[in-house]
């Protein structure tokens, strides 16, 4: 039986009195280790991150290029092609495309999640802590936006932002002399990222708000208040740190859902700018070849699903571990 000490709920009678802060995390880690699926997920996540962000750039240095076409060598089977995983419909190296696609998908999802978390904490925290009418009104606005078709928000953000991103990219290329290829490659995922985050932060805001609202009712916050601590201090020293648990859980589960969003956008034709690719786009293009050539679908799809599984199980595991209600067993 794992002990739980959560400042958010009154300490349960059986748990031994332990120090606050550190034990929450050591406890959590202990519980996480018990969940083998979550641990496996964590390992896979780390491996895939290494593959996409360390191995791929090294391979690129050795001369592998994800966008070099060779129309005379289309659909090379596994074992052929420079990367060894064959080539796609335009004779491009599949290994590099999958890895670079993964970079984009993961970057978009991770960056969007970071933005989501930041925005959500600020907005939800304020709404929850202020409470009352204003807090309620802030939440109704979120509800209204949340019910909007996310496609509208995505297209809107993309159109508004892409112009400015171009200016920014040109600045880096002209003034700092960065290579235009790499700047543009990452510049063109910014609109997409912001668009996804522009929609995603709403749910985060809701979660943070309910957490903040329940926290601000807690005895230790009441105590802090009665001690005359400033709002800022209460917010930053007492409420925010205690919301970390739900936020981390939610963030881990948000990453895979953003990877999925990106894929769905690719299906509609609103994904990343070509010739660059993302997993969503590779799978969508690959699915068109389902009857004729399975490798162009299978390779990205397997990696994609594996990543989603891994993130989801890691997230679920973290929830089990960090949310003590579900772990008194």
């Amino acid at each position: 039986m794992a002990s739980s000490v959560n400042p958010a709920s009154s300490p349960s009678s059986e748990s031994p009195p332990v120090e606050k802060g550190s034990s929450l995390w050591t406890d959590a880690f202990f519980r996480l280790k018990k969940n083998k699926l979550a641990m496996l997920g964590g390992i896979i996540v780390i491996l895939i991150l290494i593959l996409c962000f360390i191995v791929a750039p090294i391979l690129a240095l050795t001369g592998l290029n994800a966008n070099a076409q060779d129309l005379s060598n289309r659909f090379a089977p596994i074992g052929e092609g420079q990367g060894g995983l064959g080539t796609d419909q335009l004779g491009r190296d599949l290994l590099m495309r999958v890895l670079e696609g993964g970079q984009i998908s993961l970057l978009v999802a991770i960056l969007a999640t970071l933005m989501t978390v930041t925005l959500g904490i600020i907005y939800g925290g304020i709404a929850g802590y202020v409470g009352g009418r204003i807090g309620n009104a802030m939440m109704r606005i979120v509800d209204g936006l949340l019910a909007m078709p996310f496609l509208i928000i995505v297209i809107l953000f993309r159109e508004i932002i892409s112009g400015h991103v171009d200016e920014l990219a040109r600045f880096f290329i002209d003034v700092w002399g960065w290579s235009s290829d790499s700047v543009l490659r990452f510049a063109n995922l910014i609109p997409l990222t912001i668009a996804i985050a522009g929609f995603g932060w709403l749910s985060m805001g809701r979660i943070v708000r309910s957490a903040a609202a329940s926290l601000s009712q807690q005895e230790f916050v009441e105590a802090a208040r009665s001690l005359g601590l400033s709002h800022q201090r209460i917010l930053f020293r007492h409420i925010l740190p205690n919301m970390l648990g739900p936020v981390i859980i939610y963030a881990t589960l948000t990453i895979p859902s953003f990877i999925l969003y990106e894929a769905t956008l690719s299906f509609i034709g609103l994904g990343i700018e070509p010739p660059n690719s993302s997993w969503g786009k590779l799978i969508q293009e690959g699915a068109n070849f389902m009857e004729t050539n399975l490798t162009v679908l299978a390779i990205p799809a397997v990696l994609f699903s594996l990543t989603l599984f891994a993130f989801n199980f890691l997230g679920d595991g973290l929830r089990d571990a960090l949310d003590p209600r579900a772990s008194k067993d």
Partner: protein, 674 residues
């Protein structure tokens, strides 16, 4: 609850299992053809649609004067017209209508229906959103009526008018298009750029400044303007569009608008009087005065008078814009030019004269037509109905064909062509199609204001590789913009030549590719478009060393960006409306609605109008080929390939033979029971 659900699902499975025959087997017994039709039609009013998929349905519902031959291109069979004859110079045609031709409610189709239809399509009202009015410009005075050229209609056709129209037409009736005064509204005359100033030169002979505030006031008071300003004001609008007060003012100073020397002062006054009288009469519709070249000699004789010789007129009458629409039904649901608010095309209301009539229309689901019991040639019609499925996803469509759910697919995606060839031998059709895929070039953007750069980009496209490696549908590299068909043999103008492309680029003054401005290739968000764009991107990179960015936009945004010339290069295509090169060439005239490249050439337009007045076919083709050469010398458009149709068709479907326009007449189609 779980138990009930389980039983429910089991029951639904059992219900299903009663039917083990495929959709096609059932349809074969019912004699119904199931066709993939790619999308939900925008509408069924033959005058308001402009797409291929709508025309597939309209062709079954309506019938024009002539009917497509099921097996031969450029050949016309009797439709509503039993027979026809033309004058020797092909400018006057008489169509003798079949008295047996009926609308699907039993009302006879008469020549008056045709007159009404053509009048409807040509409606001059700005609220009339017809897309394909130009198709009727072949009729004499058709364009003048549609564009509401009041002066021309009144002066040309008035019996006792003292001056011939040819001498009068040099006067400024239409307004000077260069002088868009609204666009100068915020400008100060003294600070104007040279090229803008040049536009006003002609009207500023005595010098003087212009006050744009006064010129764009609402309303403009001419008595407050200087003479130079008056000239600019009147000439910018033109006689046809001037208000009554302005025309009255002009009577005092007729020299304030351009006339030619040939127009004597008393004629000027008479023109102005005619126009003022028209305003005073409340600007009535001018159909009766316009003398558009369509008349009903009697109920079953239709006479057409054309603006020039059109030897291929019967070809054109097969286009849906030339079909009759039911006068009695349209007028029962609205005015002649009531567009979208009229419910006459809705199921239950619509009445048509073709081999079929509308049975069901469910959005995004199904359109079904059934045999028209009143059709004059119902013995020939073999099918008892057609079902059109709006299958947007072409992969699903091919899979449905494989599962015996469709007789004919709309297309086969290029990815599945190798599979289709192998799995459905003899059922995959790859046929020539009069259509061309090209890139529009924005000739007003740098670097494409250099013709050499445009040509270099054209020559660096490895068309053959795109056709054979990517599309695989039998498409042919396009050496020009008009695909080869009939009497027209296109000149060899563009072919892949990377060495020449490089030289051209060097000649253009852009030495290194690093000094090249950013170039954006605009495309839609379709998969096939993207693959092509990616291939083009790689080709220019390889052969010219130039990086091009691909911008994908949804359809309507793509169209808008194109119309606003907010692009550098843009993927596009064009399907011929009838079998004549002009259908591909006329779009590139100045201000043509589909030009969008900013390019224009008076020489090119002169060649087109020369062809318009030439009756002799070989000479005409020669002139048109000169026009095409002239167009591609400047290369405002980079041809990529000529289309083919790729589709799957079941063997039991008969009388469906290759046709260049792919407008298969459904009345002859048969399902042969195995």
């Amino acid at each position: 609850m779980l138990r009930t659900t389980f039983y429910l699902i089991l029951a639904s499975f059992l219900l299903v299992s009663c039917e083990t025959r495929s959709d096609v087997e059932i349809a074969n017994e019912e004699n119904i053809l199931i066709v993939g039709n790619s999308n939900e039609p925008k509408g069924l009013d033959p005058h308001l649609v402009s797409g291929v998929l709508e025309s597939n349905i309209i062709r079954a519902l309506f019938e024009g004067l002539c009917v497509e031959d099921p097996a031969k291109d450029s050949s016309s069979l009797p439709g509503v017209a039993m027979r026809w004859e033309s004058s020797e110079d092909f400018t006057q045609w008489t169509f003798f209508l079949n008295p047996k031709a009926k609308w699907s409610d039993g009302v006879p189709v008469t020549a008056h229906d045709f007159v009404f239809s053509y009048r409807r399509l040509l409606s001059p009202d700005p609220n009339w959103p017809a897309k394909y009015t130009e198709m009727l410009y072949f009729l004499e005075n058709g364009e003048a009526y549609h564009r509401n050229r009041v002066g021309e209609i009144l002066c040309k056709n008035k019996p006792d008018f003292p001056l011939a129209w040819d001498l009068l037409k040099g006067a400024n009736f239409n307004g000077d298009k260069k002088l868009k005064l609204e666009s100068f509204a915020e400008q100060e005359f003294t600070k104007m750029e040279e090229k803008d100033l040049a536009k006003f030169k002609a009207y500023l002979s005595e010098g003087g400044a212009l006050d744009f505030k006064k010129l764009t006031a609402d309303p403009v008071d001419p008595s407050q303007l200087s003479d130079a300003e008056k000239r600019v004001f009147f000439n910018s609008i033109g006689l046809d569009k001037l208000e009554k007060e302005h025309l009255i003012f002009l009577k005092k100073q007729p020299e304030m608008i351009e006339w030619t020397e040939a127009v004597p002062p008393e004629v000027r006054q008479e023109v102005l009087d005619l126009l003022i009288a028209h305003h005073e009469a409340g600007k009535p519709n001018l159909w009766d005065q316009a003398r558009v070249g369509v008349t009903a000699a009697d109920d079953f004789t239709l006479k057409l008078k054309l603006r020039g010789p059109v030897p291929f007129l019967t070809e054109i009458t097969k286009h849906y814009t030339w079909y009759p629409v039911p006068r009695h039904v349209i007028l029962a649901h609205g005015e002649i030019n009531t567009a979208f608010s009229s419910p006459w095309t809705r199921p239950g209301n619509i009445v048509s004269n073709g081999p079929f009539q509308l049975k069901t229309w469910r959005t995004n689901h199904l359109i079904e037509v059934e045999k028209n019991p009143h059709y004059w040639d119902r013995e020939t019609v073999s099918l008892s109905g057609i079902r059109y499925l709006p299958i947007k996803n072409s992969y699903t469509e091919t899979r449905m064909f494989g599962d015996d759910q469709l007789h004919i697919t709309y297309t086969v995606p290029s990815e599945l062509i190798p599979m289709a060839r192998e799995k459905y031998p003899g059922q995959l059709r790859q046929e020539n199609y009069v259509g061309v895929r090209f890139l529009r070039v924005n000739t007003r953007s740098t670097p494409f204001d250099h013709p050499q750069v445009r040509r270099a980009f054209a020559l660096a496209i490895d068309q053959k590789a795109i056709c054979e490696k990517i599309l695989q549908g039998g498409q042919k590299p396009a050496s020009g913009i008009v695909p080869p068909f009939g009497d027209y043999q296109p000149p060899e103008l563009i072919h892949f030549d990377p060495a020449r492309a490089k030289t051209l680029l060097a000649e253009s003054g852009y030495e290194s590719t690093s000094s090249f401005p950013d170039i954006e290739l605009l495309t839609t968000n379709s998969d096939s478009g993207l693959r092509e764009a990616e291939a083009l991107q790689a080709m220019w990179q390889e052969h010219l060393g130039i990086k091009v960015r691909i911008t994908q936009r949804e359809w309507t945004t793509y169209l808008q960006k194109q119309a606003e010339k907010d692009y550098d290069l843009c993927v596009g295509g064009w399907i011929g409306d009838y079998l004549d090169p002009t259908t591909f060439l006329e779009m590139w005239v100045n201000d043509g609605g589909n030009n969008n490249t900013g390019w224009s050439s008076e020489e090119f337009e002169a060649l087109l109008s020369k062809a318009e007045n030439t009756a002799d076919v070989p000479t005409r083709m020669e002139i048109l080929s000169q026009a095409e050469r002239r167009l591609l010398d400047d290369t405002p458009v980079l041809p990529i390939y000529w289309y083919t149709t790729n589709y799957l068709i079941r063997p039991e479907v008969k009388n469906w033979t290759p046709l260049l326009l792919n407008n298969h007449p459904f009345k002859f189609v048969k399902i042969e029971k195995p």
